[in-house]
């Protein structure tokens, strides 16, 4: 369980973190943000999205395969 959790977190970091930053940056750009407003929005938003993404990954990854 510990190993699986650590692996899921590592994968979420290596793949999910850049993806969440890119995703938030794209949303911010589409919303017309630029400059420092965009920077702060991405800094805050990407973290929230990554946290939700990690929760999702754990939800799927920690499913009991026996049931």
């Amino acid at each position: 369980m510990i190993g699986r959790t650590a692996l899921i977190t590592l994968a979420a970091l290596l793949i999910g973190l850049p993806a969440s930053i890119a995703f938030t940056a794209a949303i911010a750009r589409l919303a017309g943000m630029a400059g420092e407003a965009m920077l702060f929005a991405v800094v805050i938003g990407s973290n929230l999205i990554w946290t939700i993404m990690l929760f999702g990954a754990l939800w799927v990854g920690l499913a009991d395969r026996r049931s």
Binding site: M1, R4, T5, L13, I21, E36, L39, V42, N47, W59
Partner: protein, 487 residues
């Protein structure tokens, strides 16, 4: 998926995340307490800092003359203005005695305070162990940010595991010790939810932004258009005083105070803080600042309002909220007490987890022993740190390292019972109680300040708590054979 299956999955996430990252999560809370405690411990340990409390601060110009022994200030330096909890300037740059090499000092010309600052000694250590875990950037900061994200998930899953959690918020079943533990974990955890979420979210963003901010920064162009010239009147430059520039900058932007300045040749960057708002100077959207040309005397307000709109305002408020940099000593005490309760929620949760998994064999698993060793370090490391600082003015790194190795080795070995002897608790408690005695016997009572009294109180309370544990263990030891209970 029915409700029971959802609860089961949430509990699995809650438990697995706790078990996999138990030390990181626990460290983030404990070191966070120390980081806030640093401002209280500093005047307790240093009479020269205590002396500066409440006294009018000198001007930046006087400070620069002071650190340079009356000679002119160097061409490159950075200063941070005093605050109510930090009654001295932070100075980074060469000094008269550093032979051109940069030094980082806390200095107050009014009281003659001039000592290294923000290094590995106690106050800097207390702070940096939380912000960076004493690791090079960005690793420690990122790890702390991760702990914040884990805590957010733990709080979220913990809230939703049982639907009746909120309905039973104020109920407490006390029919057994295990049930008591379970209730305290659930109830105290629920009551602390707002505080935990605020601290975890702000900490997660502050820590993990070390990755996001540089990446995004590469893609955006600085749009800082000049906000206008506050005073374009030139003044003869050769001996333009620093204080003159700072006073004009403070006057040029309404409702601000001086927060710091950095000089690079003729350019003086002045950082200002807006009054009555949650801000952190020199960083993020809250920065308000001006630039003064020391050659021509021209002042240029570079930013007269927080940048980045609402996002900038939120980002700027993260640090003051996370580090209790609003209010005063009372706010810090509330933060420390609430954080101690958070630490208890983590502890009780881990104990429940091991009880559930190990049953009668609780206390046998390596993870549990490691966690208990870590908790013992929490009690003993500050003791060695403060005692070492009192005896020599330096951090006793060697003693602390040996202590950690000894505790971990003893906790993992069969000899771990040695650490649980009532005499061991009593010895630690007595040493905690001895610290205030040593302090006041050495230099008299000194100034009576709220931070000093709080540190005295925490030392006495910790000593008293350890004595209580010693007595309760001795009593349990006496009762166990007569009741036929195997320990």
């Amino acid at each position: 998926m029915n409700r029971k299956a959802i609860s089961k999955r949430l509990l699995a996430i809650h438990g697995a995340l706790s078990l996999a990252f138990m030390l990181l999560i626990s460290w983030s809370i404990w070191t966070g307490i120390l980081a806030i405690y640093a401002d209280l411990a500093r005047p307790w340990l240093r009479a020269d800092v205590a002396e500066a409390y409440g006294k009018p601060a000198a001007t930046a110009g006087e400070l620069l003359a002071f650190v340079n022994d009356g000679q002119g200030a160097g061409p490159r330096w950075n200063i941070v203005a005093p605050t109510s909890l930090r009654p001295f300037y932070g100075y980074a740059g060469p000094t008269a005695t550093s032979a051109g090499k940069p030094a980082v000092l806390m200095a107050n010309p009014a009281t003659g305070l001039r000592a290294p600052w923000n290094n590995g000694e106690i106050d800097g250590l207390f702070r940096r162990v939380h912000t960076d875990m004493l690791l090079p950037k960005p690793w420690g900061r990122f790890a702390m940010g991760l702990a914040g994200a884990f805590l957010v998930i733990l709080v979220g899953t913990g809230l939703l595991i049982h639907g009746k959690q909120i309905r039973d918020a104020w109920k407490w079943r006390r029919s057994s010790r295990l049930l008591d533990l379970s209730e305290s974990h659930k109830r105290i955890g629920l009551w602390l939810t707002p505080f935990l979420l605020v601290m975890a979210l702000t900490g997660a963003i502050l820590g993990m932004k070390v990755i996001a901010a540089p990446l995004v920064g590469q893609f955006i162009r600085a749009e800082a258009a000049p906000a206008g010239f506050a005073n374009a009147t030139a003044k003869p430059a050769a001996s333009l005083p620093i204080d003159y520039c700072i006073a004009r900058a403070v006057a040029a932007v309404p409702q601000v105070r001086f927060a710091g300045a950095a000089r690079d040749g003729d350019r003086l960057d002045i950082r200002l803080l807006r009054l009555k708002s949650l801000q952190w100077s020199g960083e993020g959207g809250g920065s308000v600042g001006a630039q003064c040309d020391l050659a021509s005397g021209r002042l240029h307000v570079t930013q007269d309002r927080p940048a980045g709109g609402a996002w900038g305002a939120v980002e700027s408020a993260l640090r003051p909220i996370h580090y209790a940099r609003f209010g005063g000593v009372g706010t810090m005490v509330v933060y420390i007490v609430l954080s101690l309760l958070c630490l208890w929620v983590v502890d009780s949760g881990m104990m429940l987890l091991w009880c559930r998994e190990s049953g009668d064999r609780s206390g046998q698993s390596v993870s549990e022993r490691l966690y208990r060793a870590n908790n013992r370090c929490y009690v003993l490391l500050p003791l060695v740190l403060i005692a070492g600082q009192m005896i020599t003015p330096h951090t006793p790194w060697l003693s602390m390292t040996c202590l950690v190795i000894a505790i971990v080795a003893l906790s993992l070995a069969r000899t771990r019972g040695l650490l649980e002897l009532p005499t061991a608790y009593a010895a630690a408690g007595a040493t905690y109680l001895l610290l205030p005695v040593l302090k006041y016997s050495g230099e008299g009572t000194g100034r009576v300040l709220a931070p000093i009294l709080i540190v005295d109180l925490t030392l006495v309370l910790t000593g008293g708590w350890l004595f209580y544990l010693s007595f309760s263990r001795a009593r349990a030891g006496r009762l166990a054979p007569s009741l036929g209970v195997a320990r």
